[in-house]
């Protein structure tokens, strides 16, 4: 027996991991060459990437930006010693036509209108989509967009707007810099007035949007807004005197009568008293990406209320209402969009009273809106289904009636859950707008045919398709990234 023992008192110093396990080499070994199969796949992929780029890049980098026709392109490439079909791209066509691909035949002195519209649209969706931006920031952005817009036209109104918006922007910028979030919260707690909710602008935007794009009298959108006001007051008056349901019926009825029969007269009369109109642009001048975006936005905004109604109808216990809604949704979802567009182009006028005639873009807008509504209904239904039953029961236990429960409890939550779905419906509709080229509208894809019918550019294929594909990709990709971000954000709220 011996009492000699060995106990280590201090730890061995840590050794650096072998060089092959860390750094770039380690990463490469781990992620690219972790086994024979993996190594083979990596090498094959690298070869595929190399060949694709080797074929594509020389074609893309071709000095033909200034060419005025396909023949000039061929000459430029010929001078460089490149021959044949895939010698190089002919970018001259993009230089000459990109504005057309963007705006179609919209009058060139009015390009500011679509630009401002889409700028304002961005400001209008911010409070809906990004609720982390402060009210001050939102109003500031609006003032800046209006300020920039005023430089597109002249006259007294421009100056008034310019000064007002500049002052507003300066004031908001000052408060933004001067006080930070905490200070501001304190001020509000002490009774400082909050800025109005920017959602007010978002609600007004659907009326500003068509007015800016199509032009005409400002009194038409004002009349349209008045319809809501009239409807509301009729409802309020009747709800007090006769009864809630009578008001609920008479209010919308009054609004509909106003919209159908009186708005035109109202706008005409007011216009003759105070003329407030901008140059009208016919919808057949719309084209290119502007047309795609217009169709997409109108369809989504228009389909949202319709989709909510359909989704509620589909969930309701009323058998006939449910059957009608299900029938409509399944019918629209069961047929391809192109057949609906054929209906728009050849039949919609036949369904209307004799003598009615509204132009093809309006008809397409109607059909695409109906199409989107069916999909929107399913998205909203998903949102409704995702709400826990407790919410419905809670609303009931508070004594809210059906519409109050929907308005105050159910819809705000269901719609919030549905936003990613709504965004992906929008992406889908936006991509599907290319189908209108088949019925002869000049969206980007339709314009490629018109451009190739120009003797100078007859025979150009890849450059145009590539340009359009890249633009669509940029737009849709950023939208889908945003929607994914939103999904993650919403998920963390629940778990």
């Amino acid at each position: 027996m011996s009492d000699i023992g060995f106990v280590r008192k201090d730890m061995l110093p840590e050794q650096a991991p072998p060089a092959s396990e860390v750094g770039i080499i380690g990463w490469v070994r781990e992620n690219l060459f972790s086994g024979i199969g993996n190594s083979v796949m990596t090498i094959l992929s690298l070869a595929a990437i190399f060949y694709t780029l080797a074929a594509l890049l020389p074609w893309v980098f071709s000095p033909t930006w200034n060419a005025g026709s396909l023949n000039e392109c061929r000459e430029i490439l010929h001078a460089q010693g490149k021959e044949g079909h895939f010698a190089g791209a002919c970018w001259g066509v993009i230089r000459e036509r990109w504005i057309q691909l963007m705006f179609g035949f919209y009058p060139s002195d009015l390009y500011w209108r679509p630009i401002v519209t889409f700028g304002l649209m961005f400001v209008a969706v911010i409070p809906i989509l990004f609720n982390m931006i402060s009210r001050r920031m939102n109003w500031f952005l609006l003032a800046v967009v209006i300020l920039l817009a005023t430089f597109a036209f002249g006259g007294i109104i421009a100056w008034v707007l310019r000064i007002l918006s500049a002052a507003g922007a300066a004031y908001l910028a000052y408060t933004l810099f001067a006080t930070d979030k905490a200070d501001r919260a304190e001020q509000i707690a002490q009774g400082a007035k909050r800025l109005p909710n920017p959602l007010i602008f978002s609600a007004l935007f659907p009326f500003i949007f068509p007015w800016l794009l199509w032009g005409g009298s400002l009194w038409v959108p004002i009349g349209a807004i008045l319809g809501f006001v009239i409807g509301y007051y009729v409802y309020a008056a009747l709800a007090k005197t006769v009864g809630g349901l009578a008001g609920l019926i008479a209010g919308p009825l009054a609004a509909i009568i106003w919209w159908l029969f009186l708005v035109g007269t109202f706008a005409g009369v007011m216009e003759s008293i105070i003329p407030l109109s901008i140059e009208a642009v016919e919808s057949r001048k719309f084209g290119g990406f502007m047309l795609s975006i217009t169709i997409g936005v109108v369809a989504i905004v228009g389909s949202l209320p319709l989709g909510i109604v359909l989704a509620l109808g589909r969930q309701s216990d009323l058998l006939i209402v449910k059957a009608l809604c299900v029938g409509f949704i399944e019918f629209i979802r069961g047929v391809p969009l192109i057949t609906l567009l054929f209906v728009a182009s050849t039949l919609l006028n036949v369904f209307m009273p004799p003598g009615t005639n509204f132009d093809i873009i309006l008809r397409v807008l109607i059909m695409v809106t109906l199409f989107a509504a069916a999909y929107m209904a399913e998205v909203v239904r998903g949102g409704l289904a995702a709400l826990p039953t407790g919410q419905y029961e809670g609303a009931d236990s508070l004594g809210l009636n059906y519409w109050q429960a929907q308005r105050l409890v159910i819809m705000p939550q269901a719609l919030k859950i549905s936003i990613p779905g709504i965004v992906s419906t929008f992406i889908g509709v936006f991509k599907d707008t290319t189908l209108v080229s088949i019925i002869g509208l000049l969206d980007p894809l339709g314009l490629t045919n018109a451009i190739r019918a120009d003797a100078n550019w007859n025979g150009v294929v890849w450059e145009l398709y590539g340009f359009i594909a890249v633009l669509f990709f940029v737009f849709c990709f950023s939208m889908s990234r945003y929607s994914m971000y939103l999904e993650r954000k919403l998920q963390t709220g629940h778990k």
Partner: protein, 418 residues
Amino acid sequence: MTTLTDPPKESFQLGMLIYDTRYRSMTIQIVALIGFMLLIGWLISNTAQNLATLGKEPNFGFLGEPAGYDINQRLIDYNSQSTHLRAAFVGLLNTLLVAVMGCATATVLGVIIGVLRLSKNWLISKIMTVYVEFFRNVPVLLWIVFTMAILIETLPAPRAFRGDNPEATMKLFDTVAFTNRGIYIPEPLFSRGLGDISVFGAFGISIDLLVILAALFGGIYAARKVTARANRIQEATGERPTTWHINLGLIAVPTLIVLVALGFHLGYPELKGFNFKGGTHMRNSLIALWLALSLYTAAFIAEIVRAGIMAISHGQTEAAAALGLRSNRIMSLVVLPQALRVIIPPLISNYLNLTKNSSLAIAVGYMDITGTLGGITLNQTGRELETLLLLMLCYLIISLSISAVMNWYNESVKLKER
């Protein structure tokens, strides 16, 4: 003393239709129904009035008249003297053909890409991500036009195969020709064929095909019996008899015998005159549409598959491993059956989308039903209302049948709660 009195009789008042919840829902429904009827009536009366002014009263008589145009790809007999109805039917079969081919390919591709996106190989998973994002975010119509342009521009024309020293040659031991008019592959021929049987006198079905299918399905049925028996033995004794060679024999031998009896041989394509003759011609329009639709839809399916696999918690895999299952059995017995439940509902809607998107065939000149009934027939007869109604009806029936079949399948794999 008390007297029993009847509860006071409620007298029915008109106001109760609105204020009494017992009647209110009925009232709302009837109002909705009347409103709907009025709307439909209004539309129909407008339509009737407008069509009467145009002198085009609805009439389906045109379907019986000769179509007058030719269709290149036809699965049943058709020539320019056949009726418009038959042309529509040829188109319908073409739609179904591309839809079935597209769904199958898109599923296979989608599953592969979805699994590869989860690969440990960084490069592969990145490439797959790029693929998915590229295809999802560019309109499908653009992809169809693109694919067609690529096929036309990169593959050799048949005339390049001509001459003593041709620029292009047939591939795979001179059996397959890739041209920019399509792909010519060997076709099955029967030297002792049994002919066709005629169905309703409208189109023929090859008896040879029926006999082969009968032999094949008979073999599969027998093989399943053997497997079932093997399962019983395994349950009883724990030993599983080897069955794969019996199964293979049961499936292959009868089919082979039938093939030999019918005098099966392959007909190879050959360059004659302007085109390749013989063999089966898969036209470019079909290939472009099929490829574009599959590649586009595969990107969506890949996402669904990925989400489905990721939805299965890792504990399932570990538990299966703890039971001693090998990794491919873990996949087939544990992960996939559970993932399927998540995958199938969105997969259905993607199949539906693919079928509906096949109507874009018109962009590459593939004669599907939109191209025949909704295209040339509509143009030549000017019967918009009738043709579009029929067209929508066809698509509606296809869509509803696909959802019905897939929903039935979904029911059968659903988690059975006990």
